[in-house]
Symmetry: D2
Subunit: 411 residues, 4 copies
């Protein structure tokens, strides 16, 4: 057993932390303010990129702090999921930092899908510019009319018509859809509703300027439009794309989604852990600097215990996630289903709890935009729903746990 980070990962981490300290943290309030200036309305067509972000992206790319998530020596930095995990945590401390390193969702997941399942033509057309950070992509899975946590509820359809595919359906919570650089969506629909439950879905690449794609609005998440990214609601009306836009094959949508989710969960959980560390830092700093009733806030009432509980919760969440990453690297996603579901439950709840504590210790400032805490709170709330609510993942953990005993009984 060895809990130490690899030398390669440690080297990247040192450079990444230095970059965060020198370049990202000093720009945090400027960029967040710029985002908020875009933010006010749902008028996403007017949203633009932020010059400072583009500048930082160039700098990170130049320093080789780019596509860190991709386990490919040539296209990425060749880091394993376990090696990338501490880097994802470091980027999680600032809400917009992952993009600086081209490591932001949903592009990372989409790039992984193209990397693992895309045709050469698909890779050339979409993966290359995504890896370059020149365009952005969205993932269209969740639907407004049904409980999307049950994938068999999906109403969107993919029909084959000669050399073309016809797509219909309404999707929402398509994150990043409002970004000016968003050029392509991965659309998930059902192509064969009579096949076995997990062989009915297809994933299709759809250029966002296709006829029949109409972006209807940006949604707010806990009151925020999250400009210039946005969470979109979009209608697909008889959208026609060439059959070559199909990823892998018909009926493989569910399998692709499963593969996409494993590393993706490590990424977002580690980022959430970084956010929690940041929230804890802020809580302690505030608690030390403010005085009430003759003592620093941090020493009053249960505050010291809250700090301890936060440290313990964060450390447990991190170890659970690192262990899941290690299982993925060494045994594959299919043999890490308990772990991958477990972190999906444990980590966002931990973040919600730690951020709530940090807000409380800040008083009114905690819910204002003067600090990143309200944004982290909104992110935590969203993460408990995104990519399946807690309940679905608890169900998975429970099912696998109970199965151990049913096997015992029946054998």
């Amino acid at each position: 057993m060895d809990f130490s980070n690899s030398a390669r990962s440690d080297d990247y981490l040192a450079r990444l932390n230095a970059f965060m300290t020198e370049h990202v943290l000093p720009m945090e309030s400027t960029i967040l303010a710029a985002n908020r200036q875009l933010n006010p309305t749902g008028d996403w067509q007017s949203w633009s990129t932020i010059a400072e972000v583009e500048q930082l992206k160039k700098l990170a790319k130049a320093q080789g702090l780019w596509n860190l998530f991709l386990p490919d020596d040539t296209l990425g930095q060749g880091l394993t999921c376990t090696e990338y995990a501490p880097l994802a945590e470091a980027t999680g401390k600032v809400i917009f930092a992952p993009e600086i390193f081209n490591c932001n969702a949903p592009d990372t997941g989409n790039m992984e899908v193209l990397y693992h399942f895309g045709s050469d033509a698909q890779k050339q057309q979409w993966l290359t510019p995504l890896l370059a950070g020149d365009i952005r992509s969205v993932f269209c899975m969740t639907e407004p009319a049904v409980a999307s946590s049950d994938a068999t509820n999906m109403e969107a359809t993919v029909e084959v018509d000669g050399d073309e595919l016809i797509l219909n359906g309404r999707k929402w919570w398509s994150t990043g859809l409002g970004h000016p650089n968003a050029k392509v969506a991965i659309f998930m629909g059902r192509s064969n509703t009579t096949a076995p439950k997990h062989a009915q879905h297809a994933m299709v690449l759809v250029p966002l300027d296709s006829d029949g794609v109409s972006i209807e609005r940006m949604l707010t998440a806990s009151g925020e439009y999250d400009a210039p990214y946005g969470h979109g609601e979009v209608q697909f009306n008889n959208v026609r794309v060439p059959k070559t836009n199909l990823i892998w094959d018909l009926g493989k949508g569910f399998a692709i989604a499963q593969g996409r989710l494993g590393p993706g969960r490590i990424h977002h959980c580690m980022r959430a852990i970084g956010a929690a560390e940041r929230a804890l830092e802020l809580a302690i700093q505030r608690g030390l600097s403010r005085v009430a009733f003759g003592q620093p806030l941090i020493k009053l009432g249960g505050n010291t215990e809250r700090i301890a509980q936060a440290r313990i919760q964060i450390d447990q969440a991190r170890l659970l996630t690192l262990n899941a990453a290690w299982k993925i690297d060494n045994f594959g996603v299919k043999n890490a289903m308990t772990e991958i579901s477990a972190i999906k439950v444990a980590v966002p709840n931990m973040l919600q709890s730690v951020v709530d504590m940090a807000i409380q210790i800040h008083g009114g400032a905690g819910v204002s935009d003067d600090l990143p805490l309200a944004t982290f709170a909104a992110m935590a709330r969203m993460l408990r729903l995104a990519d399946g609510p807690d309940e679905v993942h608890m169900h998975m953990v429970s099912r696998l746990e109970i199965a151990k005993h049913i096997a015992k009984v029946s054998v």
Copy 2:
């Protein structure tokens, strides 16, 4: 012991509920959308009243559903705190409803201050138009630079200069400061820092157009500007007002604040209970209407238990608050300190928990603006800080509880 509502209160409640059903709920999404249209920027100078709100106010006033909170037969409807409590709950179901009935914070608290402690001239100048709903007011207590939960930290000052008072200080979280009708603030500052701890403060009426009052910005609370009300940060630089603007007397600020808080806490706690009831209704309706894995969501996993826990939590919170109201009515605020502090802790936490559950059962829709849940969540978060954080009120409850035993020991 009698847990039934008085006939008078029941009568008002029936009429109020009918009004809510007929007039307010049908306008909820229209008015919230109109608010959001104002909302986008912190450019509060451009905010305006919403015509539909003004219309509903007229209607409510015409029906005698007006100033229900004020325990005066002539100026209000003569309801006791206990009798008003169920009405406050009913108005809590829609975030903007209290204003329709001229029962919104902070105006209610300010009107109570003027009613109990104001001079005749102060009443005529400010209480009359407030009771008419023609103007709005703000309460300037919290300060950005210090931990305001300890009132002795307050840095704002009130100096006497002949017939005038000179006010200095910076305040924030002055709710309602952005409203076009906001005309007057109650400013709290320290006039005598050598007096005993609770005899140092003064409250002063300050017209918002006074020289030296500069509104610097509206703050966001969990991402929301809450237009057209807003939460303001405001600087008072050598603001001069006539000495007749002093409420009660120098050194009485703390006593006024205490008196103001008792009924005010009943009001906001009962509104929070109404919001929780609404969230529970929405959760059940969503849980019944959505199907996953072959069953209505409400039947899956722990959802039925969550519904039960919400019902139990809400009922406990309501009874605690009604009991506090009854104590205030029958024994006075000073003899209800445990109860008043207890509800301040219990109720907002209950709301936060119930709303979080309701959001979860809604999936992504829960955090969007399509439903009032995200707004209730933001309100719950704010209520755990507004008018003192949980911790300060737990300290009060604890102090009084422990004191019972110290008395026993020492006697």
Copy 3:
């Protein structure tokens, strides 16, 4: 609305509290030690009554503090459920105190069954000596082989054979079965398994010296035999009793059980609240008297907040229970199902939490028999299972809550 206790109840409460202070509390450790001396083995046949308890019973009876639970002017003191509630709380402060006042479970519930549903002969034979405190009774419902929370699982049978009933089955957790004065059981079994679900059960009076009744062992509850009462496992093998021992009628067992449970839950919940108050008192006294790191324990870390949370939890639990009692008194058990189920969930969980806190503040002493806390903890744990686990009652609350909305939809 009126949260004050009736004058009659207040008068009894004052006398009861005085009795507790003068007579019961000073004997607490003596009697608990005597119980423990009986306790060591499961050899229940050797158990005897405790002389001090019998003495206190006589004294209480002489002072008219007797059968306080029974809402009958002649047989009891004519107190309503609401009026008795504060008295039950007062007796809950000492684990054996309810018996002193002939107000202990399961005799109270059994007496109520006989009072409401018993024939004159049954009353004369069993109710009279029970009301006199001369004998004790048990209630045989729970079974070891099935999940008893679903009454339709019950395997025990009641067959009619001419003028006799034949009883078969195995029961456990028959509390009080080890007591030397235990003379009669109310046995619940199924007489007609083809009737509708809630019309299958019968309740039958069984003298414990009947042929075929074999007490097999006393169970420990969280390590305690609870001598001289005990929790028995008992086999009924072709036990024959006269048909006149049937209570009410065949098929009425479920209805009797429901009626029995309403007031019974008020009683045990109020006693649990009394236990929680006692635990809180002990916690504060310990916290004030021990010093660590230069301060009384009570001031360290989160202890003050724990005291506050305990006060708030207890007050909420009490109000919920009093409200349920008032509903039973004024609208009947059938119209108080939500309330009766709600307290069954909320109160034992509250007790478990408060006692756990009190134990923690005591350190090792908290789990020892030097204090009543370990016993209260065991009681709390048991109460979360006795008469249906939390989950069954949450299900009931949830079902009634959801039904409100289904009605709305379907009408």
Copy 4:
């Protein structure tokens, strides 16, 4: 990073698990019943060893499953703390199993003290028979009269009188003191109250048959005497031992205690994790085998979610503990203080929560002695107090966490 167990540890684990399955689990109920037969009274002088336990000890010793905890190739099996951890977990599944492998507290801690700090003579006299399992030992630290969590409160004294030491004081919660084989105590007292806070204590070896040692009683822990081990209260009155019985030196008591605690916490936390796994297994098996309302219990209400939460909690607790073990092995106890304190808080609370869930799913059987759950619950409760309450360890975690930021500020 590598989460896999070493081959050596895996080999021992396989053999240990086989031994548990073949020899220990089949004897569990027999031995627990035999313990209970001893258990009834506090009459510890009558307690005897259990023949079956002695038999199993011989067998384990013969198989080399002996002294697994001791990181010495000759005296133990040479396993690191990290390598021993999974073995400790495996022994935790049965409450008395650790003794079978000579790995039970407090002997393990006492052996470590002798191993690291004992003189050759001390080792020969006491370590040798302890390693052989021929005698048992106790640790006398906690005192009844003071809050022992603050070591400076300790009232016991160690005085030097020529070649002798004179010991005075009263200790309680000296676990194992009732065992017939208990021959020696490590006594902790203060020898120099004017030295710096952490240089005042001494540890002294005291044969239990020394003059002046009077064992006054065995305490119950949550109602259990835990025979034949017991938790003793013992008076030391002018007990004289040769100065050579002093461990290390005067003033070193605190340092020895710190060193003793590190690995000891890993041991008891891993055992607690084993107990939690056992509780979870029992919960699932019960939930699958009992039916209510037409379904296995496990599928009702929130039960599946509870299973998932238990799995997640256990896995997090295990990873936290393994990480602490790895830190101790690689960086020393002094550099693992956060981790060692964190597991002391997290693991017993996890066990308490998981066992409580398992009890609940069992209904009445859960609190009976038919299953090990009530005993695990008592153990969990005790572990939250033993060797310092949660609060002391949260304080430590918090202090170290806050110190990171104070350093930043001051540098």
